[in-house]
Amino acid sequence: MPDLLLELFSEEIPARMQKRACDDLKARVTDGLVEAGLTYADAAAFATPRRLALAVHGLTAGSPTLREERKGPRVDAPEKALEGFLRSTGLTRDQLEARDDKKGRVWFAVVETPGRPAAQIVAEVVERVIRSFPWPKSMRWGAGSLRWVRPLHSILCILSDESGASVVDLDIDGIRAGDTTRGHRFMAPEPFSVTSFEDYEAKLRRTKVILNAEERADHIWIEAHNAAFAQGLEIVEDKGLLAEVAGLVEWPVVLMGEIGEAFLDLPPEVLQTSMREHQKFFSVRDPKAGQIVKFVTVANRETADDGATILAGNGRVLAARLGDAKFFWENDLRVVRERGLSGMAEGLAAVTFHSKLGSQADRVARITALAREIAPLVGAKPDLAAEAAGIAKADLVSEMVYEFPELQGIMGRYYAQAAGHDDGVPEACEEHYKPLGPGDSVPTAPVSVAVALADKIDMLTGFWVIDEKPTGSKDPYALRRAALGVIRLVLGNDLSLKLGSICESAFLALLQTYFDKGVLLADVPTGQSYKGEDGKPVPQTLTEKMESFDRIYSLPVGSTLFVNTIGTTVELGKAGSGSHVFSLADQRHVKTDLLAFLHDRLKVHLRDEGIRHDVIDAVLAMPGSDDLTLVVKRAEALSAFLKTDDGENLLQGFKRANNILTQAEEQDGVEYSFGPEPKLAEDATEKALFAALDRAEAEIAPAMQTEDFAAAMSAMAGLRAPIDAFFEAVQINTDNQIVRRNRLNLLHRIRATCLEVADLTRISG
C-alpha cells in the first residue's frame, strides 16, 4: 500500500486563499484517484505561504482489471449490426463468443479493461487538478500559458512504500516533478530531497517551516498569550487575524512592542483597527486600566538580534500610522466642537448614496422623518430619534472614517459625545447599523432601534422603488442583510409594527427627495395600454394619466405631480427643472413585493428556529401579516397546537370538511355560504356541532382580538370531538336536498371558523 506525497511549491499564496485551496486540493485529487479505480485509507492537505501539500495514505498500488460482459446481436443478424457491435467493443469477430439465449444464438463479448499502476493514475489526476484548479484569481507568468495563483516553481510528487520512494513521472509545462523541495526562504533556502510524508514534515521543521497552519496559529496564540501574561496583560482575541497571520509566515516568531505614550489616549477602536488592518498586529490590553497598551507582531524568522531590528522597524511604522490617526482624530474633534456634528453632517450633501436615490444628505433627511414616525412605536422620544438620525451618518465625512471605513458608527458615537449629545443619541450613531449579520447583536435602546429601523426600511424601499432588488446570488447593496436586520429588530424587541405603512412613509419621503431635486419621473412601460370604453387604446393625455394615478408619470417641468400609490392622492408639489429622468418600478407592486421579500426572509429565519414553512404560510395568509411579531406568535401557537393530538385530529377533520365542501361547490357551481340552520339539524351529533361552533366562535373572536392565540387554538381544539362525531354519524350527501345543503353550509361554517385562526388549507399532511 503506497503513500502519495504531493507538494506544489510556488511564490507567496495569498493568506485568505490557503484554507480553501487545501480543501480543494484534497477533494479534487482524492476524487480523481477514486474515480480512476484506486482506494485510499486517509488524506490530509496543508498550506504555507509558499506551498500546498497533500499526503494520501494507504493508496492501492493500481486499479483493478475490469471485466465487462456485453450482449450483442443474434448470430443470424445482418452483417451491419455485427460490425457496429465490433466497433463499439473494439474487438474482432474471433474474440466474440456465440451463446444460446432465449432469442436463439447470440454473440457475446467480454471486454477487459486492464488495471493501471497507481503512478500513472496519479500523474494524470495531478496534472488535471493543477490545470483546472479553482483559484479565486489566477495568473500567467513569464512566457508560459499555465495558470496558478502565483508562479509555480516546482512539484514534488512521490509514491513511497516499504521498498522506498519513487518519483511520479509528470511534467507540466516544463515543470518536471521530483522529490525535492526547499525550506524557509531566508533561513534554509537550499533544496533537499524527501522519501515520505513523515520525512518531509520532519525535514521542513528542521529547515524552519511548520507545515500545518493550525499548528502555526496555535504556536502564535500561545506565545503571544504567554508574552502578554508575563507582564500582567492580555491579548485581544481575534480569530480572523490569527488565521490570516498564520497564512503569512512559515516560521512564526512572536514579538511584543510598545505603543508610543502619545497615542494611548486615542479611542481603543482606532488603535485596534489601525494595528489590525494596516499592520496585522494583535492588540495587547491592560485589563486593570481597560486600555490597549502594546502590540504583538508576528515575524517570519529568527534573527541574530532576537528580532530587535524587526521590532524597532514595526514600531516606527506604527508610530507613523498612529501619528496620522491622531492628526485625523484631533481635526475631527475640532470640527465637531466648533460646528457640532450637524455641521460635519453638511458635508454629506456632496456624497452620493446612489445616483437614483440622491446624496447621503437626502438619505439622512428621509431617515430622520421616518425615525420620528417610528419612535413612538418603539418607546423612543420622537425628537431624540430625529436628532440621532440627523447626525448618525455625519462621521462618514470625518477624516478618520475616510481613512478607516470600518470605524463608521464607532467614530460617530465618539464625535456625538464630544459635540455634547446625550440621552442615547451617541449610542444610536453607533448602533443604527446593527445588526450587521445573523451573528451580530440587536440593539435594544429605543432611540437606536428607531434609527436602525428607519435606516434599513429607507434602504429597502429605495432600492425596491428603483427596481434594483437582489437577484440570485447578486445582492450588491446587502438588501437581504437589511431585511434580516428589520426582522431581528422587530422580533428581538417584541415590537408590534405595521411595516406596510412604514414602507409607505419611506416611499413618500423618497418622492420628497425627487421633488427637492426637481427630478422628472418617467412612466414605465408595463405592456398595459389605457383603454377607452370601446376597448380601444386612447391617446394618453396628461389628465388621463393623472386620473389613473397608480404610478408616477413623466410630467412637463412646472406641472403638479400627484401620486396615489397608497390609496390616497397626495399633492407633492411642482416638478422642477431636473436633468435626470429615469424609470421606476411599477409602484403598485413595490409594497407587496417588499413585504413578500420580508416574509421570505422571515421564513428562512424561522426555519432556522425550527418552525415549518407550511405553518408560516398558513399564518402569513392571515390579515395583519405585516406585523411580524404577530406572525411569529401565531406561527408558534399554531406549530405547538399541531403537535398535540387535538391539533392533528382537528386538522384532519378540517381537511375532510374542506374537501367535501370544495368538491360539492365545484360540482354544484354554488357557494354554500348562507349559514346553516340549526333547526334543520337531524342527528344529535349535528346539533352538538352547532352548539360547539357557537361556543368556539364566541371564544375565537375575542381571543384573536386580544392576540391570545393559545386561547383561540384551544377554542378551535374544542371542535375536534364534535367534528369527529359528526362525520362518524352523519352522511353529508343525503338524498334530502334541504338537509344536504344545510350540512354543506355547516361545513362552510367549520371552515370559516377555523380560517379565522389560520389558513389551515396550507398545512401539508
Binding site: M139, W141, G142, F186, L318, A320
Partner: protein
Amino acid sequence: MGQTHRDRPRSFQEVILRLQAYWGAQGCAVLQPYDMEVGAGTFHPATTLRSLGSKPWAAAYVQPSRRPTDGRYGENPNRLQHYYQYQVLIKPSPPDLQDLYLGSLEAIGIDMGLHDIRFVEDDWESPTLGAWGLGWEVWCDGMEVSQFTYFQQVGGHDCHPVSGELTYGLERLAMYVLGIDHVMEMPFNAPEARIPLRYGDVFRQTEEEYSRWNFDVADTEVLLRHFEEAEAECARILDVPADDPKTGRRIVMAHPAYDQCIKASHIFNLLDARGVISVTERQAYIGRVRALAKLCADAFVQTEAGGAPS
C-alpha cells in the same frame, strides 16, 4: 553589525544610485524619467506600452510622479504631491524575479539576516490604464517598501508574455534605510558634502507652492479645456492613416498619441484635487482616459516595437 553599517547608504541619492547600478548590472536598460507629468512610474511608455506585444524588454528608471491630492504644503512627514518612484519592468518575467528583487534590497543596505521581508497579497489595478495584474506589496518589518506585480492585462490587451513590474516608493524606502522620520530631514546628497543638502532644501518650497496651486489656484476652466483638447488630439492622431505620404513609410504614431493620454490623465488628477469632479463624474472621466489608453495600446501593438511583423 560593523559590516552592515559600512554598507548602508547615507543619502537619498545614494539609494537611487545603488538601485541604478544594481539593475544595470542585472541587464536592465537604465532609462531616464519620462519628460511629462505622470501619476506613477507605470505611465512611462517604457512600462505601459512596452509591456504589450511579444518583444522581450528590460528597463529600469526613476520616475518623478505627481499626485496633486497628496500635497500637504511640505508639512506632513510622509506625504508629498511630487515624489519619486523607481520602476523596473522585465518581459518575460524571469523565474528568479523575487530573488533579483531581494538582491536589490541588499544592494541598498537592507540586511536579510536582520529584517523580516514578506510578500503580502496586493492585486494591482489601474482603471485609467485598463490594466491589472497580480502580485504583492512587499513588507520590510511591517512597512510597505515596494509593489511587485505580474501584469496580466494592459490597455485592455492580455499580456503575452507576462511582464514582471517592480515599483519602489523611493522617499519612503530611503527614509527607512536611512532611519529618518520626516522626509524633509532626509539627506539628499552626502552629509559630509561641501554643501550638504537635505530633501527639504530641495523640495519644501516646491511642495508648498504646488499644494497651493493644486488645491486653490489652478484654473479649472483652462484645465477642463486642456482635458478635452488632449482627448481630441489623441483620437485625431490615431485617426491619421498610417501611410506617411512624405516618407512613403508606414508610421503609426502610438507614442505621440499616448503623450496626450498621459496629459489627459494628469489633468484629471489636477481637476480632482481642485474638487470640481463629483463622484459620478469621476467614473466617467476615468472611463474617458481608459478609452484613450486602449486606443494607444491598440495602436502600439501594430508597431514594430509592439511586436507587429515589420
